[in-house]
Subunit: 610 residues, 2 copies
């Protein structure tokens, strides 16, 4: 061992001990004829004192930042203590030192506030990983994993490994494929998730399965996606939805306790998908703050159970509202005194291409009870007051209203609500609000092909009450324009998403476990029998031999860690992430391969642009 203690271990009680430390030189400070060196390792920093007698040796072998150093010396009490550091009461009076390795000057400073840009830090990720901020993130990641494993172990889940070289069944996301040398012309696929394998383990009677496992999706990478990502993947036998919700609320409570020291004892809210869309404009609402939406006008087919407030805005000759499919408002508390500049800026914000609205309407609910709006020309004060009442705005609030096509407007108002929450400091990184979103539609309509696609995946069971509706009706859509009237559009999935602070951190479902229903589902998605057999014959086969009722959930491990760490970026919580082109900048992958590899795999390139 190159050390007797780590750089985080020594305290006042160790004074007079002879110790050996090894670590990295964080700083060198020379004061006249003595030098102080901060020596760093994973566990902390310890101050070293090089007395006058060592100076000529030090002059011969000068220390630089990031040098690897081994020192032997005596622990002494510091005259000038540093209460910020656990080791701040002591220093080492160095007697002997060995430079174990040198370092050239790093391309950026190894500090939380580094001067290195993103590309530079990714290229030198091994240096970036030395920064305390990144170390803290990876440590948190380890703690989350450890906590999850301990909880699941106590709940009798078994970690069972599923294969990585599986079969390509491209629907939904694109597979990464792997040519098989031993089976020329054939390919493995890397798993997008262990879905079918974990279901087979339930058929095999393993009862409770989990795995913290890499999954792969060959998608065009958005800002915060990675081609390889990690899931906490779980499945249980003989359960209904309620059992799963309770079990995994327990998992999250345990993680909060173990990792953040938070007793998350409050009831975890539940909300239907329809309610989430209606009240927050999206299916993963951030409920750390209110500002609920008020639907002043909406297409009745989208929310058949809701009643319209259209009367409050119609008959005013305001063409923007009259022509719009959907008008949605919400009240921003205490912002009635926004200046013209501020409201203009909000209007510009919603007109950005990412949001894409043509404009924004606002109503100031003044403290004195009067109203001032951008639509005063069309709406008298009484009418504005009626709208304010509907929106549940109080004196001092600012009402923001967007109008337009249903889908775009709902997304835009949802984004605007989140933006205002951010502006007002209502999205605190150290406040955590969990939410279950339930009762998703089982199917989504795809215009391309005039067909149904699975909203979750083809193994999700319909709600028990809707199974008859699915079995008793044909999936065929005779009138595309009225697809919402098709019985399939009304079928709810026995599925659930867990949302944390406006991010989907997990999702799952009770699965289909009857062969006939699974076949009906495949058929509904447009798979004929041959295709069903080719792609999922093993699963249909397994369902013939006593498949039990089962269900499960998968958590996005990277995202969960990022949110717990107070970050929006998963990349900061992955040791060796890829950039938005799927490249590992450090090792420079992907890259070309040898001709021998092409020959052995019996494939060749077929580049379009050559």
């Amino acid at each position: 061992m190159f050390r007797s203690h780590t750089c985080g271990a020594l305290r006042l009680s160790d004074v007079n001990s002879k110790v050996t430390l090894a670590g990295w030189v964080q700083t060198v400070r020379k004061f006249g004829s003595i030098s102080f060196v901060d020596l760093r390792d994973r566990y902390g920093i310890t101050q070293l004192l090089f007395a006058e007698s060592l100076q000529s040796l030090l002059d011969d072998q000068p220390l630089g930042r990031e040098f690897v150093l081994q020192v032997t010396g005596t622990v002494t009490e510091r005259s000038n203590k540093n209460p910020q550091m656990p080791t701040g009461d002591v220093e080492i009076a160095v007697e002997k030192f060995i430079i174990l390795n040198k370092s050239i000057t790093p391309p950026f400073t190894i500090q939380d506030d580094t001067d290195g840009g993103d590309d530079l830090r990714m290229k030198y990720r091994f240096l970036d990983l030395r920064r305390p901020a990144v170390k803290k993130n990876l440590t948190l990641r380890y703690e989350v994993g450890r906590s999850a494993r301990n909880y699941l172990h106590e709940q009798q889940f078994m970690d069972i490994e599923t294969p990585f070289l599986i079969k390509s069944t491209p629907e939904g996301a694109r597979d990464f494929v792997v040519p098989s040398r031993m089976n020329p012309g054939q390919f493995y696929a890397l798993p997008q998730s262990p879905q079918t394998f974990k279901q087979l383990l339930m058929v095999s009677g393993y009862d409770r399965y989990y795995q913290i496992v890499k999954c792969f999706r060959d998608e065009d990478l958005r800002a915060d996606r990675q081609p390889e990502f990690t899931q906490i993947d779980c499945e249980m036998c003989f359960v209904e939805q309620e059992d799963i919700l309770m079990m995994f609320e327990g998992l999250l409570r345990r993680i909060f306790k173990d990792v953040k020291g938070i007793d998350y004892t409050e009831t975890i809210q539940r909300m239907s998908w329809e309610e989430a869309m209606w009240t927050y404009g999206n299916d993963k609402p951030d409920i750390r703050f209110e500002m609920k939406l008020c639907n002043l006008k909406f297409p009745s087919h989208a929310f058949p159970g809701k009643s319209s407030m259209e009367a409050r805005i119609s008959d005013a000759g305001f063409k923007v509202f009259d022509d719009a499919e959907t008008v949605i408002a919400f009240a921003v508390p205490g912002c009635s005194e926004y200046t013209r500049k501020q409201t203009d800026e909000l209007t510009e914000w919603v007109k950005r291409p990412q949001i894409g609205m043509n404009g924004m309407v606002f109503i100031k609910c003044n403290a004195d009870g009067s109203f001032k709006s951008s639509i005063d020309k069309f709406y008298e004060p009484q009418k504005l007051e009626a709208i304010a009442t509907a929106v549940n705005a109080k004196a001092g609030d600012l009402i923001l209203i967007l109008a337009g096509n249903e889908e775009k407007t709902r997304k835009a108002i949802s984004d605007l609500r989140l933006y205002m929450g951010q502006q007002l400091g209502l999205r605190k990184v150290d406040e955590f609000k969990l939410l279950w979103v339930l009762d998703f539609p089982l199917f989504e309509y795809a215009e391309e092909g005039n067909r149904w696609v699975a909203r979750h995946h083809p193994f999700t069971s319909p709600h028990p009450a809707d199974i008859e509706k699915m079995i008793g009706n044909s999936p065929e859509i005779r009138n595309p324009s009225e697809y919402l009237k098709h019985p399939y559009a009304q079928i709810k999935a026995n599925a659930y998403d867990m949302v944390l602070n406006g991010n989907e951190i997990g999702g799952g479902s009770i699965r289909i476990f009857q062969k006939e229903l699974q076949q009906k589902m495949f058929a509904a998605l447009g798979m004929d029998e041959a295709e069903q057999q080719n792609k999922f014959g093993f699963l249909l086969g397994a369902f013939e031999y006593g498949a039990p009722p089962h269900g499960g959930i998968a958590f996005g491990f990277d995202r969960l860690c990022a949110i717990l760490g107070g970050s929006e970026s998963i990349r900061d919580f992955i040791a060796f992430p890829k950039n938005n082109s799927g490249r590992d900048m450090m090792i420079d992958a992907p890259s070309g391969i040898d001709q021998q590899q092409f020959d052995e795999l019996q494939i060749k390139l077929n580049l379009k642009n050559q």
Copy 2:
């Protein structure tokens, strides 16, 4: 929840409780007007009693093997208790039952001694996994993993995930590659091990890393190899060989304790590679039994430090020994009374193509002190006695001798020793003997290319005492026939293998951490600077920024579990293994992919046989 208790939970203390169980029908036994059903789940088996009143219902819905059944009833004391089963004191007086799912007749019986052949069981792996023997194996696997994680956690190791989509650097084994759609013409490789990443984590100061991680090798599969396999992969900073040995002896002792209930307190033996080859004929000796080899004759260049016993066998006119490069013997205790048939069978055994010897010599050391051998014609009793003394044979032993070319003979005698150990029952599955093999040669000579290849991998450090020998000499081999005289042939690696019962279960090394030495190593393996930079530029770069001394080890998790489970086959300890052609028989992978996938990846097939 479909159940109030599992099928392994109920005891006498539960009598009179109303319970609901769910599980699989193991057996149905009808006695007159009542029926007994054994209901099975992961946790056990509980006996159900269907009274006369339920018979007509049962007649309407007959139960079959592997049906999924839910029953509600009252726990009652059995009149006919079964002490073999934890639940054997009770049964359930069924009041209500629901068939949750049916099963067609399984293609083989779900029992330890199944009637299913290998192919059938692999195709229906989801049924094979139901067999108690397989469940026990996967449970043991989970326990080994859990035990390892707990130990490593307590020793401050952090589980850090390394990437799966990395760079192809084919040397040693072949890489599996993954075409990149976003970077046409380029490929990722799947990792053969996280070697360079774990070293970078040490450079980054993570100090103690571990991962239980899938690795991939595209090799022609021998009987007990899998294209994807799992390692317990570990690395530590600021350590020397002794630190690693102690740390991982601790890991194994912990696993023995946690998983097998064995206090493995005895000292773990250590042996140099040379000693292992000399005494056991291979580098992973099974030391559960003696029968050490006696080298009667050997080429001096292979074991330069050993002295020859050739005089004992020469000058007898026995051409087989006189012409042989190597003659090796060992004594089989208590087998001097083997019949002619038995010695003939042994001779046939060594003549099989897998062993490939031309014959075998034996000497019977009779109980009365006389000798009888297959070479009596050439050797007088005194000469036979001299050999017996050399071999350390006692009266009653049978000496077996093989002669021939060094490499083949040594391997053959090693195999013969293991075979005799097996025959004599000396290789007990419930006896465990750990062994460290040390001081491997750093390089192996490759005739093809007249060059050096790394015996372990290119990141293994030479023994501290041999570093000068490596730096001070050129790798060039001027005289291929005398390569053993080259200084590089004498360099020992700072590497270690852990051997359990004759199987290598782990191996590792102290790594090179100096850029110049690493470059020297790459050059010794025939990589020019451009190739070094292209393949390992990131590692050489990292070594410039303060790389600490470090080392590590990786355990073959599948094999470790198999040996602990008393099996030679890793396949029995993998949930979804592949066959010897790398196929998953159940999901039928690998398989063809769509034209769209080829187009998107910009590759095409280039089949030789078309």
